[in-house]
């Protein structure tokens, strides 16, 4: 067995990989939250439910409509994004001017309803979703065995996060978006349709959660409460990273996944709490978060 300084490398790299995979999901979800928060100043409590919806949509698409994984990877985020757009237009828009705490409570209520509905229809035990044929098997590396699907998760989500970061930070569309978060009225005066932009941004942020859901379906069991517990971790990650930056959301998400993986290897008892502990430490040292700007 490969060991280094008394450390079992197989185990260590295995946990690191698991950490990176979890981190990929954290990054996708906190990125979606950050985008929505940036433009609407809303914490979308339903983000976890949208992730769950994405996983279920992939499962239903396969089992009821025969839509395979690859097609689902495109169709499901669009569909979930459409649900988000409806949600924004019908429910969030009317209270957008109220205290933001109301929108938090509203999205929390939506999350409860969605989770309750899926529990009622599908029961609370999880359902399996097969790994697509092309990604079955894996690679034998000198220090570990790398399943192909897991490698794909990490690569694909880093890619999606990277492209999103590039779009927001480097393109004209992104510049409008960032300007809209600074001063929506001024942007409106320049002839930018801000309400439309808000709606589409919300749809995109929610679509990211749907995308994460499809990616997650083959590795975790598809179950109604898969989103709710993840969401609280993502909230902690958002606090750690600070809401100010898109890149911060991505890096903190991935980083915290790795931290969690390492903890699972060295001190498993703390693995479910380590992210919250990191949050406490960051709050003590830097209340605005690692990448956040002081208000």
């Amino acid at each position: 067995m490969a060991t280094f300084l008394g450390i079992n490398l197989f185990g260590l790299f295995g946990q690191l990989l698991v950490g990176l995979i979890n981190g990929s999901f954290y990054a996708l979800l906190s990125l979606g939250l950050a985008i929505i928060f940036g433009l609407l100043k809303i914490i979308n409590f339903a983000q976890g439910a949208m992730y769950m919806l994405g996983a279920f949509a992939a499962w239903m698409a396969l089992n009821y409509l025969g839509i395979n994984y690859w097609l689902a990877l495109i169709v499901v985020p669009l569909a979930v994004g459409a649900v988000g757009i409806l949600m924004e237009r019908l429910l969030i828009r009317p209270i957008a001017k109220e205290d933001h705490l109301y929108s938090l409570l509203l999205t929390f209520g939506i999350a409860l309803m969605l989770q309750g509905t899926f529990t009622h229809v599908f029961g609370s035990s999880g359902m399996a979703y097969a790994i697509p044929e092309a990604l079955q098997g894996g690679f034998k590396l000198p220090f570990m065995y790398l399943p192909a699907y897991r490698a794909w998760i990490v690569v694909a989500s880093i890619l999606v996060c990277g492209v999103t970061w590039w779009m927001i930070e480097k393109t004209r569309l992104g510049a409008y978006l960032r300007a809209g978060t600074e001063n929506a009225q001024l942007m409106q005066a320049f002839g930018i349709n801000v309400p439309l932009m808000v709606t589409l941004t919300f749809g995109f942020g929610v679509g990211l959660a749907g995308f994460a859901g499809v990616m997650a379906a083959p590795v975790y069991s598809v179950s109604p409460d898969m989103g709710s517990n993840l969401l609280i971790i993502v909230f902690a990650i958002v606090v750690i990273g600070g809401m100010g930056s898109i890149g911060g959301a991505i890096l903190t998400g991935l980083g915290m996944g790795v931290v969690e993986g390492l903890t699972k290897y060295f001190y498993p008892e703390a693995s479910s709490t380590v992210i919250f502990l990191v949050m406490v430490i960051v709050l003590l040292l830097k209340p605005a978060g690692l990448f956040g700007k002081e208000a």
Binding site: I110, M113, I232, F235, V239, V280
Partner: protein
Amino acid sequence: MNTSIFTHSKLNLVLLLLALVAPFVLYPVFLMKVLCFALFACAFNLLLGFAGLLSFGHAVFLGTGGYVTGYLMINTGITPELGILAGTVAAGLIGALYGKLAVRREGIYFAMVTLALAQLAFFFYLQAPFTGGEDGLQGVPRGHLFGVIDLSDNLQMYFFVLAIFLFGFWLIQRTVHSPFGQVLKAIRENEPRAISLGYNVNDYKWVAFIISAALAGLAGSTKTLVFQLASLTDVHWHMSGEVVLMTLVGGMGTLFGPLVGAAAIVTIQNYLSGGELGNYIHIIMGAIFVICVLAFRNGIVGQFRKVLKQNF
């Protein structure tokens, strides 16, 4: 404060009389459940309604009070009032720790920090050796109050719970109407101005957080004695959501709102869990949330007060 009609001593007297007669008409255990949750919601509302702080992790204080009281009642021979006191103090201490951290962030962040901290505690209680894990602490004895009054009798227990509730409610009322409470309201309305007036805003928030946490712990301790059970349900974040819902339904920022909201939600839950609709409980709770936020933001008491104001 435009609470003239609600703080009216006559109304208080009528409510008190109702509370004294109620256990002879309705099932005392149900009433005790309402009172415990009402105290919990009132404690929560002290933060949200009067300081503008939405804590999304208040279940941790309810649960902590419950676990500490439950553990002491099972493993030591102390009397119930001391057990409850210990639970309350424990919740207050956790509140002091969590509050110190949480008040460093505002608004939505505050909600997220409290939620994440509560989840930290949830995992702790899940793994800790003294909480009974998934099973919780069962068969907690109610004991003899002051070593004399037998609390295993539901009626005597009810009056004990009522006394605790009235004490908590009185304390909250005193806090809200004190100079301290006025500063809290000033912070809620305009924080920068309160800062510029020289108030150390974070300290005020912190003290309010500790009071609220301790009273939530008091509610949890009492609840554990009533049901003779302390379990993970009380620490789960669903419970934190539930107390928000109770306050929202009743009317946040009003003294009686949380009481009315708690009564409404506990009644709905009791009614649903018995019948065929039990499976829909989360959907219905979620729907109530959405409806309240969209159309009914003042809650029952707020709405009632508005109607009174317009017509009388």
